[in-house]
Symmetry: none
Subunit: 418 residues, 2 copies
């Protein structure tokens, strides 16, 4: 089956935003085994949008549109798609109630424009929006399917996963099953070299790698008549990856993030963590607190961006900063070993570095030290990141989580085997 992706939005045509929806939907279609030959971006213009939908209907089975479901006059994707299919719109009371409830929760009243979002093309399947006001819809039309999704990724992605994937799966012959193996501490090139033989000989399952900041995800995808048959094809490949990458694999579950894996490890080890952050400025703590229910193991976090804060809150000695500077192995070490101000933690992780934008001889941009203390056992590592200030901070945050994982695993392996 062939899918075509149409992203609707003048802001994409003006280049004000990068079309990440297109990439997400393309990857999702590929994951479902749908072919994708064209992606089109078009503005909020009825004539051109209508033409794009008609063209897509002439060459694809499933047309996926994102954007243009908002409350304003500009937003006309739903109206245009309905017109192309010769369907009229009706007010769906349940969607209307959802919108009113959404606003009520915020202590606000919806405007008439917002209620417009509850207008649904006849015969369409309604996709609930749990993260915004615009419901999505799927219009079945002459053996084809037009899927309309909201533009904001935070609304579009969960809606696609919760409602569109199950809908499309039913249309597809056989099943496609994927499993993701998430690897940290191994770069993409090195990883690909290490599995070149597997990639070269792939047919079913296929193997694809996706580089993320500080990690690489390896997706193993099999096509088969049933889910259990597909899983049987996937299993030996995943086992082979486990053999090759060992502890560098932090999960084989698509839904488990690095921070979730770290929190799970800390919980299982009954260790509680505190963070002391300079250049990352709270990003490590924030990643850990992404995980719901982390309060049992997250003791507290300190953002010690200034030298004074490093001294007062983390107990770094003035002489250490003077002698070695704030970005040094010694300072990082003291950041995890000073007298603690907060509730006592078993694990302390600290980050100090130069995130730029300045890059000078004395303050080389991208130089970062990360220290981790697990029950008194301290490790400090030096990193050289590149990219923008934001990118360097993100890389440092990921590596801090990777280092915590590594140090906790080391601590227990030494306790057991040392």
């Amino acid at each position: 089956m062939v899918a075509e992706i149409i992203c609707v939005g003048t802001e994409i045509l003006l280049g004000n935003i990068v079309n990440t929806n297109g990439a997400y939907l393309a990857r999702a279609c590929a994951g479902l085994g749908l072919s994708n030959f064209y992606q089109v971006t078009v503005g909020d213009n009825e004539e051109r949008l209508s033409e794009s939908i008609k063209t897509a209907l002439s060459r694809a089975d499933i047309i996926i549109l994102s954007g243009g479901l908002g409350p304003t006059e500009d937003d006309l994707t739903k109206e245009t798609a309905a017109k192309v299919c010769g369907k009229s719109l009706y007010l769906d009371e349940e969607s209307k109630e959802s919108i009113i409830a959404y606003f009520k929760k915020k202590g606000k009243e919806p405007t008439e424009n917002n209620i417009k979002q509850a207008m649904i093309p006849e015969g369409a399947v309604i996709l609930k929006n749990n993260n915004g006001t615009a419901p999505g819809v799927i219009i079945p039309y002459e053996n084809k399917h037009i899927v309309l999704l909201p533009g904001p990724p935070i609304e579009m992605i969960p809606m696609f996963e919760e409602s569109v994937v199950p809908y499309l799966r039913k249309l597809l012959p056989g099943v496609i099953v994927s499993q993701t193996v998430k690897v940290c501490s191994v770069g993409e090139s090195l990883l690909e070299t290490k599995i070149k033989d597997l990639i070269d000989s792939q047919t079913n399952p296929t193997i694809a790698t996706y580089a993320k900041t500080g990690e690489v995800h390896v997706r193993v995808t099999a096509q088969a008549a049933t889910e259990s048959e597909a899983n049987k094809l996937i299993k030996p490949v995943v086992n082979e990856l486990k053999l090759r990458f060992g502890n560098n694999i932090y999960t084989t579950d698509e839904n488990v993030t690095l921070e979730q894996a770290v929190v799970d490890l800390l919980e299982a080890s009954e260790l509680r963590i505190s963070t002391v952050e300079s250049c990352t400025g709270g990003m490590v703590a924030s990643r850990l607190i992404n995980v719901a229910g982390v309060s049992d193991i997250f003791k507290c976090g300190f953002v010690t961006y200034s030298n004074k804060a490093k001294r007062k809150l983390a107990g770094v000695k003035k002489s250490t900063i003077e002698k070695y500077t704030a970005v040094s192995e010694q300072t990082a070490k003291e950041m995890v070993s000073g007298p603690e101000l907060g509730p006592k933690a078993d694990v302390i992780v600290a980050v100090t570095g130069y995130a730029g934008p300045a890059d000078t001889e004395t303050e080389p941009k991208g130089l970062v030290y990360i220290a981790c203390n697990v029950c008194g056992q301290i490790k400090v590592k030096e990193y050289h990141f590149s990219g923008s200030r934001q990118k360097i901070r993100e890389s440092a945050t990921t590596e801090a989580l990777v280092l915590v994982r590594e140090c906790v695993l080391d601590y227990f392996s030494e306790k057991t085997f040392g």
Copy 2:
């Protein structure tokens, strides 16, 4: 004049890469005053590529293609475009020499495939590639212009700026200038209602709104013969927006973020800030530290996710948490008024709330209190956010920055007029 952008590459159709070339070229076209109604992505397939070029020629004056100029058999953009225009290819000796020189510099020999890159459609303008081997070309065709650029951004962008911009400028009448007005504390619907008259009567300049988490950006765009004439058209509209939204406008500079505006305000006011975060877990601190050179005004940050940390680090009374819970106006207030552990700050902002995923009667998901203390003057606000855990935390982070801005402005206006 109308431009159409065609990005060529199977890796985009598979979602393996995000199409940043599309965004770059769209922005560049908008900057040149070219209208852009369609962006198309197509794979390295002769038939579909040919169809896409023909369609683009039927509706645009300038067709810009990126990708498919590489040395491999897959790469057929140049051959296909030449075929559509009925032009044959010849070996351009100068391009061939450039390719040989490029390889020589790297201590390598070019393959025959690389020499293929020196084949140029008859009558085309050759665009030198200073960052790779594939030259770009512009094929003039029936009063239209087909621009072929390499796919890697590192080659494409400099080539566009060095060679394509001067070529296109000669074809164009006048310039396009945009200015962005960034508004906080006003939702998109309300904002649009307030400027409906301006939007309805727009011709030149045009007005477009873009909703972001907790803010709305209004872009005013004018077309004129010269930049100063365009600016003259923009100015009265921006002034009208300033009149209508007053202090809710935090900047009229596209490059200034909310956190930058807050840091600028604190610096100008000579106020130093500390953060005390529960559900946002370091995100407010992290946003502030996005701004380079913030160490002069950022004193320190505390992540007090557990009740114990709230008591020990922020001085919240045990009885307050017991009586009112950790997510309450009273707790938020104490989080910004307790004895400070770190270096003394003038401004303290605190966030406490339920980010979910659980949503219970006693812990309603999305309920957040944000408190701000400016030199002893304290304000606490109650918020009801919706969406995922991450979305709620992002919304709370933005509103915390907005509240800091509001409280600092209040403090000075009361000092001046109170």
